[in-house]
Assembly symmetry: C2
Homo-oligomer: 336 residues x 2
Amino acid sequence: MKISSLGEFGLIKLLSEIISSEGADRTVEGIPLITIGDDAAAWYCNSPVETASTDTMVQNIHFTLQNTTWRELGWKALSSNLSDIAAMGSTPQYAIVSLSLPGDTDVDSVSQLYHGMAGLAHRFNTAIIGGNISNAPLLVITISLIGSSDGSLLTRSAAQANECIAITGYTGSSAAGLHMIKTQLSLDDETSSLLRSSHNQPYPRISEGQLLLRHGVRAAIDISDGLIQDLAHLCKASGVSAHIFADKIPIHPLVRNAFPSDCLNFALSGGEDYELIFTAPRKVIEDIKKDTGCPINIIGDITDGNPGQVDIINNEGTVITQNSHSGWDHFSPRKL
Amino acid sequence: MKISSLGEFGLIKLLSEIISSEGADRTVEGIPLITIGDDAAAWYCNSPVETASTDTMVQNIHFTLQNTTWRELGWKALSSNLSDIAAMGSTPQYAIVSLSLPGDTDVDSVSQLYHGMAGLAHRFNTAIIGGNISNAPLLVITISLIGSSDGSLLTRSAAQANECIAITGYTGSSAAGLHMIKTQLSLDDETSSLLRSSHNQPYPRISEGQLLLRHGVRAAIDISDGLIQDLAHLCKASGVSAHIFADKIPIHPLVRNAFPSDCLNFALSGGEDYELIFTAPRKVIEDIKKDTGCPINIIGDITDGNPGQVDIINNEGTVITQNSHSGWDHFSPRKL
């Protein structure tokens, strides 16, 4: 059955039911005041500060339906927004979904998309409270996510010279996953499964962002465009520069094993890892390490140089690149 | 100059400057805590309840660049969201803009779009606090708008049998404007100017929505899909039906004069009027009339019939249509 047969309002009813069935119609605090079906959604403000991010995924620009299933797509579209909220140390609360798609899309495909999105929303106690559905010649998903905060936030502009730079988890796994899917590379099951989920079902670092704040960290950014580029954004916003040690970059052993020559490039410039880069004194980072099961690695230092410059240094102490612009620019064509 | 030459981050910088130059970087209460340039925006919550709406405009589905200038498009994209917030009786506060567009778009065109949007935002004390820009084969604009409320809201579900149905302003002017633009109809300057602005620069009924609430009105919806269809949504949500008197529908004299035979159809099914339909006892509506310069007209009654049914009655008391589905369905093709 095509969505054009079901009609706009039939589709909205079906998707509301999916949201409820996945438990994504409420937060831990309860049901929002007004949800899907009115002119706007409404909720009680229970926190002194709120945060909001938005992200768009355009078919054949950010994803293809060959490389990503509908369910993965729903997950990934929400995940990139959750990651922005994580990078503020904020708590996600409410998602608003704007979906544009062709009328001949199968109802089952859109249902899968919503199951993926609502399932992830529920894991992070986020309610999907509204949205918009419209016709378009290709699939475009925009999600806006509202978060809450007690007032302390991680920002891009708070990094200071002499702080260490650290990172959660591993980088390069998403780019390695995209490479594997695109080239239909056959790898062992464990590697293949890790890479596919790293690319299509990234796990946002919500609790880690909050943990950083509790330890007094003030500067962070998530890796969406690539480690070097996102670190350069953070440095530019803070008026500082960075030294990164290539051999300290955390690359998953399975990724290193599968792509021994490409893995560093994936890790530095690949993007869509949705890990957090943050800066703090070494002692603070050591304390954070003891307080989480998430891998935390120090990869370099904030320095007092040219704002926005990121130098990558090899294990002989030589700068191997100063390029701060290798990463995702939305107007530079890139093959998916 | 094309936006691909300027690059994503150069474009974001330029658009931030336009937002500031139009005064749309702040609300009446002041500058938000964090705006464009971080992972998410943030603001202090100063109201007990917040509201949020979202709307998307897709090129060649909701607009064409032949019928609408870039500046008008920016205005209109924000206006449809402001109208949703108006229909809740809420106060607009923060807008988040997600823009997808081809890399060969002129920088000047995008600048015009933002001037149109930021200019309207400023008029309604709304700050544009964040967004996303990405590449796409066609232009798609999604705006999410956050509003504030003291806790009382207009909803679609509060209409009660025996209340009168009233409407702000005139309906059908937007559809008449689209017809004029599409057919390149030559009309006198006054009519032409009214129709063009009705279609491309609709004025959201923010202060009127708040006025309704102050007078104790509880049920409202804005006209985006067409008077009959939107009234049917309100009736369905409230479990009631409606009688509308065709000769009470407020049609602007210039529209009636230019389109004597089509004007009623434009008014009932045209859509994009962004006026408010609301229900209340007659006495309340008479009081509201005295309290505003905006035309307010009673057009019918809420009845205790089949939920969602809207009967249009002519001046002989005959039901001329019961069709509650003539209006915009996003998966029914419509010629722009």
